[in-house]
C-alpha cells in the first residue's frame, strides 16, 4: 500500500510518501498564499524522489486549513437558508442568534422556523406540517439560495423530521445542497445547528477546493483516489469530505499525534509537538488523541466538535530568551528564526541558540553563541526542563510512568529525562509527523444518542452497531473495525433508564 500524506499548516506544507510502513520520501516546503502551489511543490518532490521511481501511488491524504481559514476570514462563504423544525420550542432563540455579527452578515442567512421535531423518548413534539416547509422552500428558491441547513429537535435520536423536510425542499429545489444537522453533530440543538449552517456556508468552497486538489494531482500525474483528513484523525474520500467541510476543520494537531503513534509504534503515550512558537502536549489513547469535552468556538461560533485535548505551552524553537535574567518567552521570533536567531546571524537570543550553545543540536553558526555565559545556558535549560515536566504532569492521567514522544521541528528542546516519563522517545522524521499521520489515517464511524426504555447493555450494543454501520458507509473494511471509545452517561430526572451513549469505531480503508 503506497500512500502520500500532505499536511498544509500555517507555516509549512509537509509531504511524505510511504510504502506500507516504510517512509520513501519526505519534504517540508513553505506554505504559499494560494496553498495549491505549495501543495504541488511538495507533491512533485516526493513523487520525483529517487526512492519513488516506478511506484504507483494507491491513495493521497490531504490535511488542509482551507475551510477553517474561510470561516476565520469571513470570506468565500455562500448564502445559506437555515430551516429549524422545532416550533413551538426555541421560538425566542432563532438559529444563529449567538453568531458574531460579521460572520452572520457574511453568511446573510434566510432563517425559517417551522413546527415539528421530537421529544427525548422519540415521540413527536408536535406534528410536522409539510405545507409550512413547502412554503419556506419556495421562498428560499425565489431568493436564489441553493445551500440549506436543516435542524430538528432530538434529530440525533429520530432523524425523521430532518429527512422528511429535506425531501420536501428537494421537491421544490431539485439542485439544493442540503446539510442535515444529525449527520454532523450530537445532542445540543444550538451547537449542532451551528455546525450544519457553517457546513452549508462552505458547500461551494468544498467543491472548488476538492476540484483544485484533483487538478493539482492530475497535473503531477497522480491518479489515485484522494482523501481529506478529519478532525478526529481519520480520513474521508474527497467527494464525501467536500460535502462535509466542517469535518476538516482541525486536522493539523490530530495528524501530528497520529504520526507520532505511527513513528514509534506506541499506542498509549504522551506526545509533545514542539513548533516554532508553541508546543502542544497531548495524550494518545489507543493510537488516537484524547479528545477534549469542551465547547469549541470556530471563528466565534459555538460548536461541540470533538478536538484533541491539547495543552499549549509557550515554548518553541524560536522562543525569545531574555539575556539579562534568562526569562523564557512567551514571545517568539516564529518563522523569522532563520534571520533573527543568533546562530543564523540575527541578534535575538532564542531557545535554539541556547540549545546550540549547550551542544544539544547543530544548526547555523555555533561560533556566534560561543560567548554566551555558561551559567545562563545551564539555568535556561533547567527552566525549560521544569516547564516541560510541569506541563507533562498536568496532562498525564495515570500515576504510572508513561513514554513521552517528542516530535516537531523543536523536539531537541525536550530533555532526555522528564519526571513521570518512563522514557523520552525521539524518532527520525519527527519533523513531518503531521504528514505521516495524514498518510496513515483510517476511517471512523460514530453514534451519540439518547436511548431509553432498554437495558444499558442493549443501549450500548445498539450504539455500537450504529457506529460500525456508519464506519462502513464511510469506506471502512468491515473485518478491520475496532471499537475505540464507549461512553455512557445516565440522564438525571427522567424515567425509563434514559442514557446518552457515545460509541466510536475505527477501521482500515477498504480499497477496491
Amino acid at each position: 500500500m503506497k500512500r502520500i500524506g500532505i499536511d498544509v499548516g500555517g507555516t509549512n506544507t509537509d509531504a511524505v510518501l510511504v510504502d506500507g510502513e516504510r517512509i520513501l520520501a519526505a519534504i517540508k516546503v513553505p506554505t504559499t498564499q494560494d496553498v495549491l502551489s505549495g501543495v504541488k511543490a511538495a507533491l512533485s518532490h516526493v513523487i520525483n524522489a529517487p526512492a519513488a521511481a516506478g511506484i504507483a501511488v494507491d491513495a493521497v491524504m490531504i490535511g488542509t486549513t482551507h475551510f477553517t481559514n474561510a470561516v476565520v476570514e469571513r470570506a468565500r462563504l455562500e448564502r445559506v437558508a437555515a430551516i429549524r423544525v422545532a416550533l413551538p420550542t426555541g421560538r425566542s432563540l432563532p438559529p444563529m442568534c449567538d453568531w458574531p455579527r460579521d460572520l452572520y452578515n457574511a453568511v446573510d442567512p434566510m432563517i425559517v422556523m417551522v413546527h415539528g421535531g421530537h421529544e427525548y423518548d422519540g415521540s413527536p413534539l408536535v406534528p410536522m406540517n409539510p405545507d409550512e416547509i413547502r412554503d419556506a422552500a419556495m421562498r428560499i428558491r425565489d431568493a436564489g439560495i441553493t445551500s440549506i441547513a436543516i435542524s430538528a429537535t432530538f434529530s440525533p435520536l429520530t432523524t425523521e423530521c430532518e429527512v422528511r423536510a429535506a425531501e420536501i425542499v428537494r421537491s421544490v429545489i431539485p439542485d439544493a445542497k442540503i446539510t442535515l444537522s444529525h449527520t454532523l453533530g450530537r445532542i445540543g440543538l444550538l451547537e449542532r445547528e451551528n455546525v450544519a449552517i457553517l457546513n452549508a456556508a462552505l458547500q461551494s468552497l468544498g467543491k472548488t477546493t476538492v476540484q483544485a486538489f484533483a487538478d493539482a494531482l492530475s497535473e503531477i500525474g497522480v491518479t489515485a483516489p484522494f482523501y481529506l483528513t478529519q478532525n478526529d484523525g481519520t480520513v474521508a474520500l474527497a467527494d464525501v469530505a467536500a460535502a462535509n467541510p466542517v469535518h476538516s476543520f482541525a486536522s493539523g494537531p490530530t495528524n501530528s499525534m497520529r504520526g507520532a503513534a505511527f513513528l514509534t509504534g506506541l499506542e498509549n503515550a504522551m506526545v509533545v509537538d514542539v513548533g516554532g512558537t508553541t508546543s502542544d502536549i497531548g495524550c494518545l489513547i489507543g493510537g488516537f488523541p484524547r479528545e477534549a469535552n469542551n465547547i469549541v468556538h470556530i471563528g466565534g461560533v459555538r460548536t461541540l466538535f470533538r478536538m484533541p485535548d491539547l495543552l499549549p505551552i509557550a515554548l518553541g524553537g524560536g522562543t525569545i530568551i531574555n539575556p539579562e535574567n534568562g526569562a523564557i518567552g512567551p514571545r517568539s521570533v516564529g518563522y523569522r528564526i532563520l534571520t533573527e536567531a543568533k546562530v543564523f546571524g540575527g541578534s535575538t537570543l532564542t531557545t535554539s541558540d541556547i540549545a546550540v550553545a549547550a551542544g544539544i543540536v547543530e544548526m547555523g553558526d555555533r561560533d556566534r553563541v560561543k560567548g554566551l555565559d555558561a551559567g545562563l545556558v545551564r539555568a535556561t535549560l533547567a527552566r525549560i526542563s521544569e516547564m516541560v515536566a510541569d506541563n507533562f504532569d498536568r496532562m498525564k492521567t495515570s500515576a504510572e510512568d508513561v513514554p513521552l514522544i517528542a516530535v516537531g521541528g523543536g523536539a531537541f528542546l525536550i530533555p532526555d529525562k522528564v519526571p513521570g516519563a518512563s522514557e523520552v522517545v525521539r524518532v527520525e522524521n519527527a519533523g513531518v509527523a503531521n504528514a505521516l499521520g495524514a498518510a496513515m489515517a483510517q476511517v471512523s464511524g460514530e453514534v451519540d444518542q439518547v436511548f431509553s426504555g432498554m437495558s444499558r447493555d442493549a443501549a450500548l450494543a445498539a450504539a455500537e452497531t450504529g457506529a460500525r454501520n456508519a464506519a462502513v458507509a464511510s469506506g471502512a473494511a468491515v473485518d478491520s473495525l475496532k471499537t475505540l471509545e464507549i461512553e455512557d452517561i445516565p440522564i438525571a430526572y427522567l424515567p425509563g433508564g434514559a442514557r446518552r451513549v457515545r460509541v466510536r469505531v475505527i477501521g482500515d480503508i477498504a480499497f477496491g
Binding site: 445540543g188 438525571a492 427522567l494
Partner: protein, 373 residues
C-alpha cells in the same frame, strides 16, 4: 391585571442590568451552581434576546420594596440534557405569572429567583422583563440544589402551593395543594416528565417581609461580581481563582487532576464519585468529591473536609471558568474551592433538608467552614 397594579417600590432603587452584567452573571451563576443547576448559557441567550427586543431587567434590594408586596418565586424544572435540545419557547415564565395572578386574583409585585446557581439564574429575569416587574436581588438557595423543597422559603415555613407549571406548548398545570414540600416536588417531577422533560414552575407568592427575612440576600449582585472578577482577572492575566476566593470568603482547598470518575443513576439523579491527584502545593495528595447533580462532599486524603450545604466549586485551573458535573472528564485540571454558605442554610432546620444526611450521608456531620474575617 396590569391596570390594578400599584407600584410598591421606589424606581430610583432599581438597578437595570446590561449585556455585560448578563455575561458576568453567566459565569457567576455557574460558580454558584457548584457543579449543578444546568448551564446558564441558553438562559443568557434568552435574556439577551429579550434585551434586544427592548425589554428591561431591573433588580431591587429586598428591603427596597413595601413589606406587604407580593413576590412570586420562579424557576425551571426538568432534565438539563433535555433542555439543550428542547429549547424554551420563551414565554413559559410569563404564562406562569399570568396564570398565578388569575388564580389568586391579585397582581404580583415582584419576581423572585428560586435558585441562583446555574440555569435558573436567568429565567426569572426573562419572566420579570416580559411581565414588566422588578426582580428582587436574592434567591432561595444561594447556590444550586436538586429539589424544590430545598429552598430557604420552604425550610422556613412557606408553603409553595398553590403553584403553576407551564410548558412550551402552552399547557398550564395548577397544584392547588400539597401536604408537604416533598410531595409538591414529587408531583411536579412526575408532571414535568409528561410535559416532555422541561417546564417553568412558579410557587405561591410570598410577602416581601418574609422574602427579606428568609431569602439568601444579594444573589444577583454577588453572582455578577463573581463573574466580573473572573473576567477582570483573565484580562489582566491575574489568577481568576484567587479573585473568586477574595470575593466570597472562599478558600482554595486543592489543585488536582481528575484520575477517576464513576457515574450512575440513583433515584433519578446523576450520582457519581470523582478522584483527584494533586499538583502544585498538593503534589502527592489525593482528594475525592461525591456528586449528586451538585458537588456534595469533599475529602482530602480520605478525610471529609467540606460538605453540603457549604459550596464546593470546581474551576478550570487555568481559566477560572466553572466546571459542571456533565463536563467532568478524565485528566481535567481543576482547582477546588470551598465557599461558606449563608447562615440561613446552617440552622438545624435547614441542615435537615440540605445537610449531608438529606443526601444519603447520615454518618457525615456538617462542620461549617470558617467564614472570612
Amino acid at each position: 391585571m396590569a391596570e390594578s397594579r400599584k407600584r410598591k417600590y421606589d424606581e430610583a432603587a432599581l438597578r437595570t442590568l446590561t449585556r455585560d452584567d448578563l455575561e458576568a452573571l453567566e459565569i457567576g451563576a455557574g460558580i454558584l451552581g457548584t457543579g449543578g443547576g444546568g448551564n446558564p448559557y441558553q438562559g443568557k441567550l434568552l435574556a439577551l434576546e429579550a434585551l434586544k427586543a427592548g425589554y428591561e431587567m431591573k433588580i431591587l434590594a429586598t428591603d427596597a420594596i413595601e413589606a406587604d408586596a407580593l413576590c412570586m418565586s420562579i424557576g425551571g424544572i426538568g432534565a438539563p440534557v433535555v433542555g439543550v435540545e428542547r429549547i424554551r419557547e420563551g414565554r413559559e415564565g410569563l404564562r406562569c405569572l399570568t396564570a398565578m395572578e388569575e388564580l389568586i386574583r391579585t397582581p404580583v409585585d415582584a419576581i423572585v429567583c428560586e435558585e441562583i446557581g446555574g440555569a435558573n439564574s436567568m429565567s426569572p429575569l426573562v419572566t420579570a422583563a416580559l411581565g414588566g416587574l422588578p426582580i428582587l436581588d436574592c434567591d432561595g438557595m444561594g447556590r444550586a440544589f436538586p429539589e424544590m423543597q430545598m429552598t430557604t422559603f420552604s425550610i422556613y415555613g412557606h408553603s409553595s402551593t398553590p403553584s403553576v407549571m407551564c410548558d412550551l406548548h402552552g399547557n398550564a398545570v395548577i397544584f392547588s395543594h400539597a401536604v408537604s414540600e416533598v410531595w409538591h416536588e414529587r408531583m411536579a417531577r412526575a408532571c414535568v416528565v409528561a410535559q416532555g422533560g422541561g417546564a417553568m414552575l412558579a410557587t405561591a407568592p410570598m410577602q416581601a417581609h418574609f422574602v427579606h427575612q428568609f431569602a439568601i440576600p444579594r444573589s444577583y449582585t454577588k453572582a455578577i461580581a463573581l463573574g466580573e472578577a473572573v473576567i477582570r482577572a483573565r484580562r489582566q492575566q491575574e489568577d481568576p481563582i484567587a479573585a473568586v476566593c477574595d470575593l466570597e470568603g472562599g478558600r482554595r482547598i486543592f489543585n488536582g487532576k481528575i484520575t477517576d470518575l464513576k457515574r450512575h443513576l440513583r433515584g433519578g439523579f446523576a450520582v457519581g464519585d470523582l478522584e483527584l491527584a494533586g499538583f502544585d502545593g498538593w503534589t502527592g495528595e489525593t482528594a475525592s468529591v461525591a456528586i449528586q447533580n451538585e458537588f456534595l462532599i469533599f475529602r482530602r486524603n480520605g478525610v471529609v473536609e467540606v460538605t453540603v450545604p457549604d459550596l464546593i466549586v470546581l474551576l478550570d485551573v487555568d481559566t477560572g471558568y466553572p466546571i459542571t458535573t456533565e463536563m467532568l472528564r478524565y485528566g481535567q485540571r481543576v482547582a477546588v474551592i470551598a465557599i461558606p454558605c449563608h447562615d440561613l442554610l446552617r440552622s438545624a432546620a435547614a441542615l435537615e433538608v440540605v445537610g449531608p444526611s438529606a443526601f444519603g450521608y447520615p454518618d457525615i456531620a456538617f462542620s461549617p467552614l470558617p467564614k472570612a474575617a
